[in-house]
Amino acid sequence: MAHSLSPECTPLKKEYDSCFNAWFEGYLEPAVAASASSAERAKYSKQKAEEYERNCGKIWGQYQECVQNAVKNRGLNDLLKQAREENPLREPPSSPPS
């Protein structure tokens, strides 16, 4: 739901989610044309990454500290580690259409 797995992390989660969602909306509509060179895209990506770090870096750190603790306390780390090892998404991202 709108809750974190641990109630004490919920306010941090909500603050982080708000920050991320605001940034994410802009991220989904890049200000570079699809025909832009990869250098231009890399530059824009870097800008976006810096913007994310600037706006949400701090709350992310706080939220993660809380959540990783909660995950550890619930004994979920082994389960997660197993799942990560089988992670099928580690393929190179698709290149943009020409």
Partner: protein
């Protein structure tokens, strides 16, 4: 092993559907989702966003499930997603972390734009049971039937969020149109593209979205969500 595939077309553009997809919890149709946390997030050097989320879902056990088959009716789901904003693809895979021997359900979703500015969602599901005791087929059939009956519900849930996102976008466009007297250049650069896009639902590939615009759009959206 059971498989199921379905494709669905949304009228909204890819960026709006993708945003709604990431915002889909909470929604009134997803009361079974108890918690949702981001446990990992990375932006690659090519600008791709990789996210891992840990979700706790409540499940109802079928009446024929033997006692102790599943110790509790909650299940942890891991959702791994990848967003490529240039290629305009969202890939998202969810699977349960626990009870896997009883039933392992894996759902893969891909969101891509269509040529006419709509969005195509492709969903692939695989269900495997390693339970044995003559129940494997029954468990797999149950899992698949449950998924099929829920897919409509999850689409309704996404549509609800899509409505909110779309409202907030058009609300923002209206604001852009009705504030011609704003003192700074922000409003001036804003209102021109807004005028051009009145009534359109296509995304703006060339006009750079000012930072503040994103923030104010999210503020409107979050107000809608709170009111909902």
């Amino acid at each position: 092993m059971r498989f199921f595939s379905q494709s669905f077309l949304y009228d909204e553009p890819w960026s709006i559907v993708s945003l709604a997809y990431f915002l889909r919890y909470p929604n009134p149709y997803a009361s079974h989702v108890l918690s949702c946390d981001v446990i990992s997030r990375t932006l690659t050097s090519t600008g791709t966003l990789l996210t891992t989320r840990l979700i706790l879902k409540q499940g109802a056990l079928p009446r024929w499930a033997p006692q102790g088959m599943v110790p509790r009716s909650e299940s942890w789901v891991i959702e791994e997603s990848e967003v490529d904003p240039y290629g305009k693809v969202v890939r998202c895979q969810s699977r349960n972390l626990d009870h896997v021997k009883v039933m392992s359900a894996q759902e893969s979703v891909v969101l891509k734009p269509t040529e006419d500015g709509k969005t195509l969602q492709r969903t692939d599901v695989s269900i495997v049971s390693g339970f044995g005791w003559g129940l494997t087929k029954r468990i797999e059939s149950y899992g698949l039937a449950k998924f099929k009956s829920n897919i409509q519900r999850s689409r309704e849930g996404l549509k609800t969020i899509l409505e909110l996102v779309r409202h907030s976008h058009s609300h923002r466009m209206t604001l852009g149109l009705s504030t011609p007297n704003s003192p700074n250049t922000f409003a001036n650069s804003d209102s021109t593209p807004s005028f051009n896009r009145e009534g359109e639902s296509s995304h703006r590939a060339d006009a750079p979205p000012p930072l503040r615009r994103s923030n104010s759009s999210w503020t409107s959206l979050s107000r809608w969500l709170r009111a909902a």
